[in-house]
């Protein structure tokens, strides 16, 4: 039996969580203490097996009223995949106009997420 302490990142409350678990072929959670919501409990289970994160970045825009369109993942990606996804984002260039929610890169690096725009960028020519 193993005791692990985590800080939940689901919301700004940042609950301190203490987990009792059995590490074998498959991690088995025996008890979770400190979570104040169900989402947090789900997150803890996920975090112990396959940690997932969201990321945000920017992509250069041509002919727009902003130089960069800010972007984010529309679903969490595996923590270990972040730099692979960033490498794809870094290569990308787009042209205005761009609207919030536009999918700019579908499933980067084979992940189950899209890179979507988080800012409207108007065409300025």
């Amino acid at each position: 039996m193993l005791k692990k302490n985590l800080v939940c990142i689901v919301c700004p409350n940042g609950c301190d969580v203490e987990v009792l678990l059995e590490e074998g072929q498959k991690t088995e959670i025996l008890a979770i203490d400190g979570c104040t919501c169900d989402k947090g409990k789900e997150w803890v289970a996920q975090e112990l097996t396959r940690p997932m994160r969201t990321i945000a970045s920017g992509i250069p825009v041509e002919d727009g009223d902003f130089k960069l369109v800010s972007v984010r993942t529309d679903a969490p990606i595996p923590l270990g995949k972040i730099f692979e996804v960033m490498a794809v984002i870094k290569e990308k260039r787009v042209t205005a106009p761009v609207a919030i929610g536009d999918i700019l890169i579908p499933s980067p690096a084979g992940t189950d997420c899209n890179i979507i725009a988080t800012r409207n960028v108007a065409f300025t020519g």
Partner: protein
């Protein structure tokens, strides 16, 4: 010089100003003018491209620009007037403003004013950082502007002083861009930013956070070449034998935010030392009649959701004032911070309405309760698992419990 008259002028088009404007319109006020010095609305949210905004308001983890856009869309849908690229240069106690833009320098006489100017960052000068004055020293927010809005990278090898949220967010942001972030140093024994940001911005990327440690000297005559860091004792004095040189070409400062109250002061608004913001009643009115304050210019928030909520309330209060609702009587009930409480807000209340008291504690605590009392009578109590100076706490007080109150005292009960 042109002079115009308006019912409500809102200074600042960030999250506070936008929410106040939307709320004022929804509460039936026609004549509203919002003044924003940038070319776009949204304020600092425009450069906060990370997610985590809106969990309370929209039950979604939005980025700053997305969160701002929801309010901007609403603002535009309601057809509220805004002057962009326009700066307020002065405000007096009669609510007369001078306002400047490329279109002209004009005077505006307002029946009510909402102060929503936000805050600014503390600088190297403000913390009297010794050493040389090289290039490569930036506040985290300025760095965020360059990186996220201007496609400019500020350095290659970064040290961050202060564990405020913007600094933590920038540590991750720059790491993702391939910049080496050496470490974050924090003078206090606990992080200043949210725990989740320490986890997902530092721990995830192996960036060390050194607590009770600070930067004591800048090196490099031209570009920064390094910083001297050292641990501090419990009186924040440097422990000389722990001094060490950390080579870097960039130092980001995330050492606190200061409400931007210069206009407020020029109007005669009285400020609270503990918040560096205005002293307000439970309608968020300052000592200057018709002048209201909300958002980070009133007190620095940690969550934009709380800013929007507070500003929405202030928009409504301003409309009530303009509609000539009788002002609450002179005899306000003071709200006073006691044991372990750094500040409370509002500082005075009428006792006639429900009120939410916002507060911050002085030190981290666990399993304690925030207690509001009137002459030793319990008025409200809120039990919390974790209390942290970085996290604003809010506690509701019911009108029926404070009708006869003389003075409310807020304290932590361990």
């Amino acid at each position: 010089m042109q002079t115009i008259e308006r019912d409500l002028v809102i200074i600042g088009g960030g999250p506070a100003g936008l929410a106040a404007a939307v709320s004022a319109r929804k509460n039936g006020l026609d004549d509203i003018l919002l003044i924003e010095r940038d070319r776009i609305l949204g304020g600092i949210l425009n450069q906060c491209i990370h997610d985590g905004f809106g969990l309370h308001t929209f039950k979604q983890a939005l980025t700053g620009p997305e969160y701002a856009q929801r309010f901007i869309d609403e603002f535009n849908r309601l057809g509220i007037d805004a002057l962009l690229d326009t700066i307020v240069l002065s405000l007096d106690s009669n609510r007369t403003l001078t306002v400047s833009s490329k279109k002209g320098f004009i005077r505006i006489m307002a029946r009510a004013v909402i102060l929503a100017m936000g805050c600014r960052e503390r600088t190297a000068g403000a913390i009297s950082l010794p050493g040389t004055r090289p290039s490569g020293v930036y506040t985290a927010g300025a760095a965020q502007n360059f990186v996220n809005l201007q496609n400019i990278m500020i350095g290659k090898h970064v040290v961050i002083l202060g564990s405020g949220d913007i600094g933590l967010i920038m540590a991750r942001r720059m790491t993702l861009e391939g910049v080496k972030v050496e470490a974050v140093f924090e003078l206090l024994p606990t992080p200043s930013g949210l725990a989740r940001n320490v986890r997902q911005c530092l721990d995830d990327y192996g960036i060390p956070l050194f607590l009770s440690t600070s930067v004591f000297e800048l090196h490099g005559k031209d570009r920064l070449t390094g910083v001297t860091v050292a641990r501090v004792d419990d009186r924040f004095q440097m422990i000389p034998e722990t001094r060490r040189l950390v080579p870097c070409d960039t130092l980001l400062l995330s050492v606190g935010l200061i409400p931007e109250n210069e206009l407020s002061l020029s109007a005669g608004v009285r400020l609270e030392p503990a918040t560096s913001g205005a002293s307000v009643d439970d309608r968020f009115m300052t000592n200057v009649p018709g002048v209201f304050s909300c958002g980070n210019v009133l007190h620095v928030h940690d969550l934009v959701d709380h800013v929007s909520e507070e500003a929405g309330l202030v928009g409504r209060c301003a409309v009530r004032y303009l509609k000539g609702e009788p002002a609450p009587e002179e005899a306000f009930i003071p709200v006073v911070p006691k044991a372990d409480i750094r500040y409370v807000l509002p500082q005075t209340i009428s006792g006639k309405e429900d009120v939410t008291i916002s507060l911050r504690v002085t030190r981290p605590m666990r399993n304690a309760a925030v207690l509001v009392t009137d002459r030793d009578r319990k008025v409200a109590r809120k039990k919390l698992v974790r209390l942290h100076p970085a996290e604003m706490i809010r506690i509701k007080v019911k009108a029926k419990d404070i009708e006869t109150a003389e003075k409310l005292e807020v304290s932590v009960q361990c």
